[in-house]
């Protein structure tokens, strides 16, 4: 009705004020959404990292295996199963591994390690360790009894590239045996305890020592869509009830816990941002209402009742919000897209991080599902913030307002 017309025209009467409120809403929305995009990019980075280095999306074991990593706890028909997984359309890459614990030693020092016997071509598709080498190569020379160890471990053992070390392990039949290996490469991942305790050899070499033949202890799967890990794992669990199928979050619950923490933190941070937005708008509008005292006084003098004045002010805020929101969405899309391709380099903000030598680049990403809730929350905040100033407008006494200089 008339109120709408007046409210709408009022907005354009004072362009500066309208633009400021509008921008506040837009920026508020942008801030909330960008924050979420940032957080999601962050979580993805941390999770992806762990997945690419060691966890993969899904791991399959003999149910007895994870307890103590017994040599005998092999996967029934492991190699056949591995082939099946490779054919599975949901699976991007699969790698079978022989795993055992043992001791690595050289001259004066020894250390406990977990030895991964891998097939180079498969492992290259699944693990980023294959490219995280600081020295040497990932078994590209094709020699026998080569080993790739973490740089940290190399330091601890005081060995270098091409040094010889001895691996002592317990075979399938229970005897202790040892094998001499040559260091072919040194790797460095972001997880230094992983670096210190994990070593890689070729599957054939390890199997020969262990006496496990063609059998494997672990199948690691990288899925095409990592987010489907849970449902896909569930279906595998049903398909292979005798095997232990685990998602990365089941294997390393600490990681899931970290992401859970970040989720909660995100909501709190967004809450604070929206509160800041609300107060910003409230103050701006309060000031605007103060500026329009005379106008409100006149309106009440000629007979516009308080309810109508209230709604007029509220409508103005509502319309400004309606314009501000799409502007905010546009802003978000532009910025997220920009940073999603370039990435935000965190080491620019932390001296210590850049010294660590890892590129800490975060790629913000925004799920469609987030757009609506955040937009609604921002809209709600904006409207709520308009209520108090609108109420204030009613407090002006017409007599005072009209004759105010």
């Amino acid at each position: 009705m008339m109120l709408l017309k007046i409210a709408w025209r009022n907005i354009w009467r004072n362009k500066m004020r309208s633009i400021v409120v509008l921008s506040s809403v837009a920026i508020g929305l942008f801030a909330g959404m960008f924050m979420i995009a940032f957080f999601q990019g962050l979580m993805k980075q941390e999770v992806d990292n762990a997945i690419e280095t060691q966890l993969s999306h899904i791991q399959v074991h003999n149910p007895v295996f994870p307890e103590d990593k017994e040599v005998g706890a092999l996967i029934e028909n492991g190699s056949g199963l591995l082939e099946k997984f490779k054919q599975d359309p949901a699976v991007k890459a699969a790698s079978g591994r022989v795993i055992t614990t043992g001791m690595i030693s050289c001259a004066s020092t020894a250390a406990g390690v977990e030895i991964h016997g891998i097939v180079v071509s498969d492992e290259k598709n699944i693990s980023s360790v294959t490219v995280d080498l600081t020295e040497g190569s990932y078994f590209s020379r094709g020699g026998k009894n080569e080993i790739v160890i973490g740089k940290k471990l190399a330091g601890k053992l005081a060995v270098q590239l091409h040094s010889k070390i001895v691996l002592t392990i317990q075979t399938k039949s229970g005897d202790l045996t040892a094998g001499s290996f040559r260091v072919a490469g040194l790797f460095r991942s972001r997880n230094s305890s992983f670096d210190e305790t994990t070593v890689f050899t070729k599957q054939d070499d390890l199997a020969q020592l262990l006496g496990t033949g063609k059998e494997i202890h672990e199948i690691a799967l990288l899925l095409k869509d990592g987010k489907q890990a849970d449902p896909i794992a569930a279906s595998y669990k049903k398909q292979y009830p005798s095997l232990l199928v685990q998602t990365w979050s089941e294997i390393e619950p600490e990681m899931a816990m970290l992401t859970g923490l970040m989720d909660q933190m995100m909501y709190i941070i967004i809450g604070i941002i929206l509160l800041a937005l609300m107060f910003g708008i409230i103050n701006t509008m309060l000031m605007a209402v103060l500026e329009r005292q005379r106008e409100f006084g006149m309106l009440m003098a000629i007979g516009m009742n308080k309810v109508r004045v209230f709604f007029m002010v509220l409508l103005e805020s509502f319309m400004l919000t309606c314009i501000g929101l799409p502007a905010g969405i546009l802003l978000t899309i532009v910025f997220v897209r920009y940073f999603a391709s370039r990435g935000i380099d965190l080491s620019a903000f932390s001296e210590a991080l850049s010294q660590l030598g890892f590129s800490s680049i975060v790629y913000p990403e925004l799920q469609q599902s987030m757009f609506l809730p955040i937009t609604l929350m921002t809209a709600l905040s904006a409207i709520l913030s308009a209520i108090y100033p609108a109420l204030k407008a009613l407090q002006f006494k017409p007599a005072v307002a009209i004759h105010k200089i």
């Binding site: 017309k5 309106l299 000629i302 007979g303």
Partner: protein
């Protein structure tokens, strides 16, 4: 004749606890229907305050204001706004119109608030604008009108709600001679032909000359109340 406005021992005090200022000090007054009366007095005499009290824009410190027998001093703010809408027309010195509405919409505005049907609204708006001689400016915004034209639209607007009387606070103060005279003629005509009651507060001699009753205020008290021959 009908007594429209009755004031009994009306007073308004500012700063009662510190340094009391009696803007209006025990005023008794009666205005009949059809009057064309000017409230005069030096600056600070309380004219504006008195007008505010009559129009229900402010509450008195003491006394009564009765409009057609209804004591408006007892009403709460919301009721007052409604009362004003139905019974009182205002013309202020300046800033009378809603800046974002056209002349026509400004006049129509009060009728919309009274929820009058469209046909009635359109007719009355057209009539009123013609009466004040501004039919051709009906789609102009206040910023596009001269001071005099704005005041004339204000008069049309004041009339649109079919009030009992119109209060005008220094309506000619910002106008040049020609516009002032013009405005006065329109108001005088409305008073004569439609028996619309006008109560002015004014300095302007031209207005005083046209009034048929002159009430003089000094320091918040009525010191004289005389009949006048308009000229």
């Amino acid at each position: 004749m009908n007594t429209i406005i009755e004031l009994h021992n009306l007073s308004k005090v500012y700063n009662p606890k510190t340094i009391p200022v009696y803007a209006v000090n025990g005023v008794d007054l009666q205005i009949e229907e059809g009057e064309f009366t000017a409230l005069v007095g030096p600056s600070g005499s309380g004219k504006t305050t008195l007008l505010n009290l009559i129009g229900g824009l402010d509450y008195p410190s003491g006394g009564e204001v009765k409009i057609e027998g209804v004591d408006i001093t007892k009403m709460n703010e919301n009721k007052l706004i409604d009362f004003r809408l139905k019974n009182i027309g205002f013309v202020f010195q300046a800033y009378n119109l809603i800046p974002v509405l056209t002349a026509r919409e400004n006049v129509e505005f009060v009728m919309l608030m009274q929820k009058k049907p469209k046909i009635e609204r359109d007719k009355l708006v057209a009539d009123l604008l013609t009466e004040v001689g501004l039919s051709d400016k009906r789609d102009s915004r206040p910023s596009e009108l001269s001071g005099g034209q704005q005041q004339r639209v204000a008069v049309a607007r004041a009339l649109a709600s079919k009030p009992r009387f119109i209060l005008a606070d220094e309506p000619t103060a910002n106008l040049d001679s020609k516009s002032a005279t013009n405005l006065l003629e329109i108001m005088a005509k409305l008073n004569k032909e439609d028996h619309m009651t006008f109560l002015f507060s004014t300095h302007d001699q031209r207005v005083i000359d046209k009034a048929r009753r002159i009430v003089t205020l000094v320091d918040g008290k009525v010191i004289s109340d005389t009949k006048n021959q308009p000229h």
